[in-house]
Amino acid sequence: MDAKRGDWVRIHNVVLEAGERAPNLPEETQKVPLEMWTKGFLLNEEAKIGDKVEIETYIGRKAEGTLVEVNPYWEHDFGKCVPELLYIGRQARELLEEEGE
């Protein structure tokens, strides 16, 4: 079992299948489903990743979907070194110092 009742989980749903998408969309978007994710506390006694489950979201709404993650967390960060940015501050400071006031 991956999760038990009360665990904080993330669920997934397909809102619209490819082929059901709105008209006037670019072809690449038409070809893929419209997918949706939300998070909440698991209401089932227990569940495995991939199971259809029910959750109660943080604000108390009930939602159903496929269990995809237990204790989900954010992984975004401050990125890698971008050497292309390193000239900006030094160059500007030099320019300001050039003639002074």
Binding site: L34, T38, G89, L96
Partner: protein, 472 residues
């Protein structure tokens, strides 16, 4: 019998759902064929400026500091003709509770929702507005759902949007995340219907009126400190609400001579509903992909009549490239000690160049900043761009191709602006009015409305009507 929740059935209930979720009967303000009474809508469904000041004070919104950017001004003057190079100021809207000017819009929406007895609010946004609504909802004891377009079909999301989701959750909101596509609106309607919450749309009169205090504060503050209102105010433009509200606030303060300039990041060539282009852009707002379509057709928004109507107020509309905005973001931190943005610095990049056209004693104001955080910062955003195959180079921004490259200006003289043709946009707006109503003949009321809604002349409106064979 259970309601039909199919896509078609829910979309067909749009008007009915919206009426319940916004509490405005927009049909009351319609007259003529094309025309509607914008000012009456703003007056009767919104709040007075004084009421909004009070509402915003209750939750710590507004009265943000203004800083003079002395080093950036000095740098701009080095590249300006003799005697040119206006003083550049910035209003530090990042000082609002949720880190952006959007708190002003959210403050009024949440106040209104609470007053009308709604239990919660819902907003469809991938931007700072989500965090603003979540924060204001927390203060007012309302529940909050934010619906975001977050991922491409591979499940990869822009770091900037991911950060905004995190921030919404930090304030206790539920965040519903979707892949690319305008059918997000369907999910939004389903949630409104299911919960009975208030639609904290960015485009209601409350939302727009919330920004009026920003323009008003600018006029008052500059008169106090500098003896006159700013000569130019530059506004980052996407959906048009920031510009509309700021301009209306300036006018309400009597600052009718202040020029209002819109600025957007140039993302021409990228399709906003494309699963492939989605992660090939480095700006998720403040760009031409929203700025141009919303200016030329404001009523495409999530309410029947948008209160954000930028063409009514725009004196000039310019674009800058992605590389220049990242560059100015770095300069703002390095020379002025303010780590903000990046997206909010679009107007700063434009102002840096615009200042070089103005006299030294003139005043140009960048009217917002936004908070910086993990994901929402030049480094992760450029890292993400590179991972998505975008070339990051130092050179001439004129060579940047959105979706293929980001070009950082090799020195400050390479920060440039491109002018958008406002008459072309006005024509496009009038064409959209004609096409959406399928009108063959318009009344004088319609003409008067179009003149006002495009800040043009009767002669101009008539010339466009002639072009499309519409009688009057």
């Amino acid at each position: 019998m259970a309601k039909d929740m199919s896509y078609e059935a829910v979309m067909a209930r749009n008007a009915e759902i919206m009426k319940k979720a916004v509490g405005i009967d927009y049909s009351e303000f319609e007259y003529g064929t094309i025309a509607f009474d914008y000012e009456r809508m703003m007056r009767e469904t919104g709040y007075s400026l004084q009421e909004i000041e009070r509402i915003q004070q209750e939750t710590g919104v507004g009265n943000t500091p203004v800083y003079e950017l002395r080093n950036l001004t000095k740098l701009a003057r080095k590249f300006a003709p003799k005697g040119k190079g206006a003083r550049i100021f910035v209003k530090d809207e990042a000082a609002n509770p949720s880190g952006s000017f959007k708190a002003r819009r959210a403050a009024t929406s949440c106040y209104h929702a609470k007053k009308l007895g709604y239990k919660g609010v819902i907003a469809a946004t991938s931007g700072n507005y989500g965090a603003a609504v979540a924060s204001q909802a927390a203060m007012r004891g309302l529940k909050c759902i934010v619906v975001q377009e977050t991922f491409d079909s591979k499940g990869i999301g822009q770091p900037e949007i991911i950060e905004k989701a995190r921030k919404c959750e930090a304030y206790g909101a539920e965040v519903v995340q979707l892949t690319v596509g305008p059918e997000l609106f369907y999910t939004f309607l389903v949630l409104l219907e299911e919960t009975g919450y208030f639609n904290a749309s960015l485009y209601t009169p409350f939302g727009i009126a919330g920004v009026e205090t920003l323009g008003y504060e600018l006029a008052v503050e500059f008169r106090e400190k500098e003896g006159r209102a700013p000569d130019v105010v530059v506004v980052t433009n996407a959906g048009g609400g920031n510009l509309t509200g700021t301009a209306r606030g300036l006018i309400k303060a009597g600052a009718t001579d202040t020029q209002v300039v819109g600025a957007s990041v140039d993302l021409s060539g990228l399709h906003m509903a494309s699963d492939i282009h989605f992660n090939r852009k480095s700006f998720t707002t403040g760009h031409t992909g929203f700025g141009v379509p919303f200016a030329t057709w404001p009523d495409r928004s999530d309410v029947p009549r948008s209160a954000a109507r930028p063409l009514r107020y725009l004196d000039r509309y310019v674009t800058v490239n992605q590389g220049s905005v990242f560059y100015m973001t770095e300069l703002l931190a390095q020379l002025e000690g303010l780590e903000r943005g990046p997206a909010g610095n679009t107007s700063l990049a434009a102002a840096f160049k615009l200042a070089q056209e103005l006299d030294e004693d003139q005043i140009i104001v960048v009217q917002e900043t936004e908070y910086t955080g993990a994901g929402k910062h030049i480094q992760p955003q450029l890292t993400f761009a590179k991972e998505n195959g975008i070339r990051v180079e130092i050179g001439d921004p004129a060579d940047e191709v959105p979706g293929e490259s980001i070009i950082l200006p090799k020195d400050p003289s390479y920060v440039k602006i491109k002018e958008l043709d406002l008459n072309r946009m006005r024509r496009s707006y009038i064409r959209n009015c004609i096409q959406s109503t399928d009108v063959k003949k318009v009344t004088q009321e319609d003409i008067d409305f179009l003149v006002e809604d495009t800040k043009s002349s009767e002669e101009f409106v008539k010339s466009v009507l002639d072009e499309f064979g519409v009688e009057y």
